[in-house]
């Protein structure tokens, strides 16, 4: 399909080399890795290799610390529920207001079962206050779950340091690293991180495969019980083809790590600077000084994100938005609200997320198209007049109800 795909934080294309590595495991190598015969054995070996490839990417000490799951969400749920089950006397969870729904929705659900959840706020750049964090940690804390990088803004949290602090309080530490893995060099063996979630489709592997990293010695209670797959820690016949694909993708991500952090970052910076220079009343959200190399989240004031996306799509450009309308809810993105971005801008945020397949021509094209689109929509907006916002936007538009 032709088009400019700048929505790689949503999902990525599966690399052709990954597809190629997977194909034999649909047909010739169809065996069940648990079987004794050679049909199964070869597949078992392929999974072993993939496990080592993922181990390498994560910088894990042992390959047995890699548990294959079906997705990032499963890894998140398994980690948090395990920590609670393994420490029944600890009834508190610490997380942040800007987590992915995979963690947030589970946490609000757990509140109904009597768990106390602390949602740490963030500042205007999406940063946490570690002094406040320290105060929340106690002998009641079962688990801290904090994302490595925010999916909307790309902003990093200091998870390595936070894991040390959690350990000092005797609590387990989990991080949802689905956006960071493959873009940030990791060396988990040197950290106190107990559990970490990976999602294959964010790093050019297929959808439907994830990983839970579980540090050796961390007390664990499986979510799916049954067969002895994954050493009894995640029952269910292995998704062999996707595991092989994820292994290959992990190997390729290792090779591309430097490129992601130099060339992709340069393209992202160029895109961002190009748009900001041409569009008045637009700004970057999150913390540009400390974020993923591929992500730029730009707020366009006084217009609505879904309308921007529809017009971008007309030009063959794919991005995503934090507007309420793209999700069918009434509130704009919880991440934007947590950072205190005013409604006038939060509804008009657009996330551009690049990958190593993005190129200069695509960036130039988007820089050329975006300003026109924004101007076109602002012409329709009751909050906009001529070249700028209506003199006093609040007064210019005074609805009968608000």
């Amino acid at each position: 399909m032709e088009g400019i795909y700048f929505d790689n934080n949503a999902t990525t294309r599966v690399d052709e080399a990954v597809v190629e590595a997977m194909l034999p495991y649909f047909t010739e190598q169809f065996g069940n890795p648990s079987s004794m015969h050679s049909f199964g054995n070869k597949v078992g070996l392929a999974i072993k290799k993939a496990r080592m490839q993922v181990q390498e990417l994560l910088g894990a000490e042992h390959d047995s610390e890699i548990i294959f799951t079906s997705c990032g969400t499963e890894s998140d749920s398994t980690a948090i529920l395990s920590a609670l089950k393994a420490q029944p006397d600890r009834k508190e969870i610490i997380t942040t207001t800007v987590e992915h729904p995979a963690v947030l929705t589970l946490c609000t659900w757990l509140e109904k079962d009597g768990y106390k959840v602390h949602y740490m706020p963030v500042d205007e750049k999406g940063r946490l206050n570690l002094d406040e964090y320290k105060k929340l940690l106690s002998d009641q804390t079962a688990v801290v779950s904090v994302m490595w990088a925010n999916n909307e803004t790309g902003t990093f949290f200091p998870v390595v340091e936070m894991a040390e602090m959690a350990h000092a309080a005797g609590a387990m530490f989990h991080t949802d690293a689905v956006q960071a893995v493959g873009k940030v060099p990791l060396n988990l063996k040197e950290t106190k991180i107990d559990m970490l979630s990976v999602s294959g489709h964010k790093l050019h592997a297929p959808k439907g495969i994830g990983v839970l990293y579980l540090k050796r010695g961390v007390r664990f209670r499986p979510m799916l019980r049954g067969g002895h797959q994954e050493r009894g820690r995640r029952a269910g016949t292995e998704n062999t083809t996707s595991i092989v694909g994820l292994g290959k993708a992990a190997e390729m991500a290792m090779e591309a790590m430097a490129y992601e952090n130099t060339e992709v970052a340069r393209l992202r910076d160029k895109l961002e600077a190009g748009i900001l220079a041409k569009v008045p009343r637009s700004f970057v959200t999150g913390n540009p000084a400390d974020r993923l190399p591929n992500t730029s989240n730009i707020a366009f004031e006084f217009i609505e994100g879904e309308a921007i996306l529809l017009l971008l799509n007309k030009f063959g450009i794919a991005a995503s938005s934090g507007s309420a309308c793209t999700s069918g809810s009434l509130e704009p993105s919880h991440v934007m609200r947590a950072m205190g971005i005013p409604y006038t801008a939060a509804h008009g945020t657009v996330r551009f997320s690049l990958s190593r397949y993005s190129n200069e021509a695509e960036v130039d094209r988007v820089i050329a198209v975006v300003p026109e689109i924004i101007a076109q929509l602002r012409k329709l907006s009751p909050y906009w007049e001529g070249d700028g916002p209506a003199a006093e936007p609040d007064k210019a538009f005074a609805p009968t109800y608000a």
Binding site: F302, I303, E304, G305, E306, A307, L310, L311, N313, K314, S323, A324, C325, T326, G328, S329, L330, P332, Y343, T344, H347, K379, L380, S381, P382, Y383, F397, A398, P399, T400, Y401, A402
Partner: protein, 296 residues
């Protein structure tokens, strides 16, 4: 991506009557930026006749909000104020060949802007009586506020009650957990606790319909639209009911008419409302023969 009709896309990409109307004498502002929707409707009304000579809009909102605004201006132009006020939000949605359930509120906003603009022209104050909450039932587009209010006003105790009173939960049933949560909250307010399995408040109402009752009901709905079809030289006939699929044949002028799809959509909606369940209406031209070919 939303499943927008071609008409919605067309009105979004080429909005009609966008921008400020300089000599407007009736202006309605509704919505709010916190909700991500705001619409200003500007009317130019001829005082002697009350006819709307021109209508423009400015909208902050998503694709369907802009399309609904554009459609509204087209629909009211040339009408008198009283005629224009008869335009319902469903009319706006129909004009656009339908809106996704999550987006029906865009057409509601259009209808409200119209009321506000007319009130403004007449020197009256229009006040909104409608509050909107998170969408719970996607099949029938019912939001949390509506469900809460209905539970409160009628002392409802079960999901079936809520379905009977609001239609919410009467389709795919995925939202039953959400409805139960609202029941728990509202019942706690009046000092009761929600118990699953409590018999529905309206015990007189049978839990389900027999096949015969169901078919009779379907016939009754078709009967009710028949005069309208006959007026246009057509007719509709019920062929078969297979679970959630209702097979009909359109005859006379209706068969192959360009408006056939639109008409059927309207009938389908009506059937869903009457039967309180999610159904699909399938037109077949040669009855069983083409039906067989539809079933791979």
């Amino acid at each position: 991506m939303w499943d927008y009709s071609e008409k919605v896309k067309e009105h979004f990409f080429q909005p009609r009557n966008a921008g400020v109307l300089e000599d407007a004498n009736g202006v309605g502002d509704v919505g709010s930026i916190s909700c991500g929707d705001a619409l200003r409707l500007m009317l130019k009304v001829e005082p002697e006749t009350d006819i709307i000579l021109d209508a423009h809009f400015q909208t902050f909102g998503c694709g369907s909000a802009i399309a609904s605004s554009s459609a509204l201006t087209e629909m009211v132009k040339g009408k008198t104020l009283d005629e224009a006020l008869k335009v319902s939000n469903q009319d706006i949605a129909d004009y656009l060949d339908g809106l996704p359930p999550e987006k029906m509120h865009c057409s509601v906003m259009g209808r409200e802007a119209l009321q506000a603009a007319v009130a403004n022209y007449r020197g009256e104050v229009w006040s909104d009586d409608h509050e909107e909450g998170a969408l719970i039932c996607k099949c029938f587009a019912i939001d949390a506020v509506m469900i809460e209010d209905t539970i409160r006003a009628n002392d409802l105790v079960s999901v079936e009650d809520v379905t009977n009173y609001t239609k919410a939960g009467g389709g795919c049933s995925s939202c039953h957990e959400g409805i139960e949560e609202i029941l728990v909250k509202v019942m706690a307010e009046r000092g009761e606790s929600f118990k699953p399995g409590t018999p529905s408040k309206e015990e007189a109402k049978p839990a389900g319909m027999t096949n015969l009752q169901r078919i009779k009901k379907i016939e009754a709905v078709l009967e009710s639209v028949r005069p309208q079809l006959k007026r246009d030289g057509g007719d509709i006939e019920l062929l078969d009911v297979d679970g959630k699929t209702i097979y009909v044949s359109m005859t006379g002028a209706c068969a192959g008419c360009q408006m056939e799809a639109l008409t059927l959509q309207g009938i389908q909606q009506k059937l869903m409302e009457e039967l309180k369940e999610f159904i699909k209406i399938v037109p077949t031209k040669a009855g069983a023969l083409s039906r067989a070919s539809c079933n791979p």
